[in-house]
Symmetry: C2
Subunit: 204 residues, 2 copies
């Protein structure tokens, strides 16, 4: 299964995927293309270093539908069947999403439905929760509201600031994301309404 | 520290507190009185079996302030210094809460701020989360929104219904609640804005 990765920044989640592919932990998924909506970001350099084709599709100067058509054109040219949003900071509309129903996933640094949107770790610290975590979910037109595939809990300690919590969450995210991409590529995830079933979610 | 417990139903959390007191795991807290807003509930029988004074203060026929004054009168007569809401299904107003600022706690069967209100386990199942849990928090006038003292994560499995999840959450709740009451009685919890600090919340 050819996978496209959409990024906007440093690309640490992309790096986790690249590393997993190198060591065979992504099979049968392969990373076919990386697209950033911002030029010059570190994620593009990571893709280049791994010999994965990388493109910039800027959103600033064009209408939303034109932007989404350009994204889709690049993905289609690389025969992409599934998409990972890895720190991609643009909301996508059904105009784009309908091409990839149940084949586009996002990773979010909180236990959704708590703390959707930007700065989830800072939101968690401000609210005073004792547990946060990471959520990987199918993408729909809502803000971080699509069907949840997998979650991992992360403790919040008394002395944490947002950066410390964010780092602890990302450490789990970098383990979980390749695992979910592999399960998706293996056809192991089934989505029925809001319920996503998969291996490893049964009681012992 | 004399503790009053407010209940509305079967009283499984009350039973966890009674059992903890019997085996010394609540010290220096003692359970001084149990009050139910509903007559005939099992929680009252549990209190009676443990020789803890138990009362019914009904809310149905009286104004909210009168109800809260009656609660306060019974609690004051038993020299109660701290209150546990253990499945107590009435919202309390500042008229009552101001007597017990930072000395009244509630237990809720979700990882707040996710799924406040009634039927939290059913809400979690319907949303399709993979992790839920239990939250113990200080009570303010908001619905399950007060400063969070402690949380424990609980996995949600593919085949869970609301009852199965509820049972798994309660199992954790019954361990956590006596522990938090003991910490409160020992003066180990400090509340600053939304942040509650206490022992055992530091990184290893």
């Amino acid at each position: 299964m050819k996978v496209g990765v959409l990024v906007s920044g440093t690309g640490t989640n992309l790096q986790a995927l690249l590393d997993a592919e190198t060591t065979g932990r992504l099979e049968p998924a392969t990373l076919a293309v990386v697209i950033s909506n911002k030029p010059g970001v570190q994620a593009l350099a990571r893709a280049g270093a791994a010999n994965v084709p990388a493109f910039v599709v800027e959103h600033a100067a064009v209408a939303r539908e034109v932007f989404e058509d350009q994204l889709h054109a690049v993905l289609a040219a690389h025969h992409v069947e599934a998409i990972v949003l890895a720190g991609f900071m643009r909301v996508l509309t059904p105009h784009f999403l309908d091409h990839y129903r149940d084949r586009i996933i996002n990773t979010h640094p909180s236990l959704l439905p708590a703390f959707p949107g930007a700065n989830a770790a800072a939101q968690a610290i401000a609210h005073g929760v004792k547990i946060s975590g990471v959520t990987i979910h199918f993408v729909d037109a809502s803000l971080d509201g699509g069907p949840i595939i997998e979650q991992v809990a992360v403790p919040v300690f008394d002395d944490d600031d947002a950066a410390a919590l964010q780092a602890r969450i990302q450490s789990e995210e970098h383990k979980l994301l390749p695992d979910v991409v592999q399960r998706l590529a293996r056809g192991e995830l089934s989505c029925q309404g809001r319920k996503v079933r998969g291996p490893g979610r049964r009681a012992e």
